[in-house]
């Protein structure tokens, strides 16, 4: 792996068989992402955004082409190796939060560290640190059912960052949030990106998210049609709300 390259896809193609027909979800996608990027895949439904995240997140394998994530060739990984890659280096943020309802906020955020075998005392410190990041330290003992949608998504962000992954993949993270909460969440992610250097890749068609992106990759019918880099995302200048 080159020092400045986190992800590299070469002629990445994903084909789904639909009976006798073949559906191309991704067609020969060549993309590269470096550390600290704040990028988004945009495009209409069915354009291949989630498929791309799936493959980069080692949840799926390409039909053709090569995908290298943190120096590992995704197409050659076993299930166990893929799980290990996700566990150590990749955080996920989902549209529907997917918090574990019977556990507290603290325990939800703690879970990835338990999987990593982090000792209890260190876990506590890192969980509280992550909750401080998302301004939810005072809700550590609450259950997800006692939180608002915005707070739930902030817990999901804390859960994704607590293990300090190199890469966070967020699939429509603001789809279930109102405008104010969406901006709050995005500002937290921007801050994490800037201060921790974590790479964020979004799959979205939400204009609010697009407004924060430093890099916007447009997918149409599985092909990259546009790859734009912004030196200063316009929305950042107008929003200063804190969560």
């Amino acid at each position: 792996m080159e020092n400045n390259r986190l992800i590299l896809t070469q002629k990445l193609t994903k084909i789904y068989s639909m009976g006798q027909h073949q559906l191309y979800a991704l067609k020969e996608v060549d993309l590269s992402f470096g550390p600290g990027e704040f990028a988004g895949l945009v495009g209409p439904s069915g354009s291949g955004k989630t498929t791309f995240l799936n493959i980069v997140g080692s949840l799926d394998i390409p039909s053709k082409g090569k995908v290298e994530v943190l120096g590992r060739q995704i197409e050659t990984l076993s299930h166990k190796q893929a799980a290990e890659l996700r566990k150590r280096h990749i955080g996920f943020i989902f549209q529907t939060f997917n918090l574990l309802p019977v556990y507290t906020v603290f325990e939800n955020v703690e879970f990835p560290l338990i999987l990593l075998g982090v000792p209890a005392s260190e876990r506590r410190q890192r969980v509280m640190e992550a909750l401080e990041w998302v301004k939810l330290a005072d809700r550590a003992n609450s259950r997800p059912s006692q939180l608002s949608g915005g707070e739930c998504q902030r817990v999901a962000i804390a859960r994704a960052i607590v293990k300090k992954p190199a890469l966070i993949l967020a699939d429509e993270p603001t789809a279930n949030l109102d405008a104010q909460n969406s901006h709050n969440i995005l500002q937290i992610m921007v801050r994490l990106n800037q201060e921790l250097g974590t790479t964020f890749i979004f799959a979205t068609h939400d204009e609010k998210v697009i407004g924060y992106l430093k890099r916007k990759i447009t997918l149409v019918d599985g092909k990259v049609t546009k790859d734009e880099i912004f030196s200063s995302p316009p929305v950042m200048e107008g929003h200063h709300e804190s969560p």
Partner: protein, 425 residues
């Protein structure tokens, strides 16, 4: 991780309560049934030992061949000498001679004419010649329904049921008509000083109990007895020790071709008792197997429902990088924790019920009316150390089978669909 899982189980009652209650109930039933079967087994063995087979029994070979006919003409002779030898060779055993006999009981009216007659099953044991273990073995003090125990020769006891049927009161004199050892008619008047109820249908229907010396006199069996019974002094039957004694005793007579030479049998060698007890054990093995099977199906189903309900959680855990094997093992661990807790609570509940049944018992006289085996009318459970363990076999076994099958769904989950699945969830 275990602590984390425990928290989840304790907080999510819907995921733990149904399996927990299922296991509790199944384990409780298993413990009660096992203890009940053990009680039945002990009841049959102990009643048979006390009243008929002893822990060990010596007869002549000829008598043993026709023992069910009570052939007193083939009885042991020279009993005093044999008793002395037995006491010397096997001091750990309490030896006691007995005579069984059949006959008629004739109750006269005030003119001495026959008022009523009834068939009897007579049992003669050493009642008057101390030291005698028979009062304890037969538990006569407790069995006494009316009157008192015999204190001198010519006194006898008869079953309360027979006494009621014939209208005999304690103190009445009646005649027994039987057959002597040499085949002559035996007649004797006995004073029935008390009535007894053993709680064993086959005895209570027509038993009379007389002193051994009286029987020897009436039946012309001087220094003879049909059987010599042996009992372990602590009252606990030990098959292996009994077998060793039987082998040692029989070896000393193995060369003899005399039909009247003695032969010893252990409790389980008599009356097909070993087969009967094996059958009882088979029955509760089958019951436990059926429980394990039924509970496994219920727990499998509960596990499947739980996994459907936890679809999102399992998906998130897979997405976060939890290995399928680890997730599978953690689901089984959760089930085993529930299985363990359910087994403990179920066992405690089962032991409680079993203890009640052990102390109080259940009177099954109505279904024992035509019984010909020695079994107490009051059936009791018996708690053994295994009663506290047996419930864990279905409790943990069914849990393991159920969760192993239901959790297999984890392996069928495709990670490639997780993003879409979790969006929809």
């Amino acid at each position: 991780m275990i602590r984390f899982l425990l928290k989840g189980i304790l907080r999510d009652r819907s995921r733990s309560l149904l399996p927990f209650l299922t296991i509790c109930f199944g384990v409780m039933l298993t413990v009660v049934l096992y203890s009940w079967m053990k009680g039945a087994e002990a009841n049959i063995a102990e009643s048979s030992a006390r009243f008929d087979y002893g822990h060990l029994k010596i007869m002549t070979r000829a008598y043993a061949e026709e023992a069910e006919l009570i052939p007193n003409e083939l009885a042991l002779v020279g009993v005093s000498e044999l008793m002395a030898k037995l006491a010397k060779d096997f001091p750990q055993i309490e030896w006691t001679p007995r005579i069984k006999f059949g006959g008629l009981l004739d109750l006269p009216d005030e003119k001495g004419e026959t008022l009523v007659q009834a068939p009897i099953s007579g049992l003669a044991v050493n009642l008057l010649n101390p030291p005698t273990p028979e009062k304890d073995i037969l538990n006569l003090e407790n069995a006494l329904a009316r009157g008192r125990l015999p204190q001198e020769a010519g006194e006898a006891l008869l079953s309360e049921e027979l006494a009621q049927r014939l209208g005999i009161k304690p103190g009445s004199v009646a005649t027994i008509i039987s057959q002597t050892m040499t085949g002559s008619l035996a007649l004797a008047n006995l004073r029935f000083v008390g009535t007894i109820r053993f709680g064993i249908q086959v005895l209570d229907a027509q038993a009379i109990l007389i002193d051994l010396a009286d029987a020897q006199r009436i039946l012309d069996m001087e220094d003879a007895s049909g059987e010599i019974l042996g009992f372990f002094k602590d009252g606990i039957f030990r098959q292996k020790v009994a077998e060793a004694i039987v082998n040692q005793f029989n070896a000393s007579f193995s060369q003899s071709s005399d039909r009247f030479s003695p032969i010893m049998k252990s409790l389980l060698d008599q009356g097909g008792l070993a087969d009967l007890l094996a059958m009882v054990q088979s029955v509760y093995s089958i019951i436990i197997f059926v429980f394990v099977l039924a509970m496994s199906v219920v727990l499998w189903n509960a596990g499947l429902m739980g996994n459907i309900r936890r679809f999102g959680e399992i998906g998130v855990r897979l997405a976060m990088g939890e290995d399928k094997g680890h997730l599978y093992r953690s689901l089984i661990s959760e089930s085993l924790i529930i299985g363990c807790l359910g087994s403990i609570v179920g066992t405690l509940g089962g032991l409680g019920i079993a203890y009640y049944l052990q102390v109080k018992g259940v009177n099954v006289a109505s279904i024992m009316e035509s019984s010909s085996i020695f079994i107490s009318e009051v059936m009791r459970a018996r708690i053994t150390w295994f009663s506290a363990v047996v419930g864990f076999i279905p409790g943990l076994g069914a849990t393991l089978i159920g969760s192993t099958l239901s959790a297999l769904g984890v392996y069928r989950r495709q990670t490639s669909g997780l993003m879409k699945e979790l969006e929809a969830y």
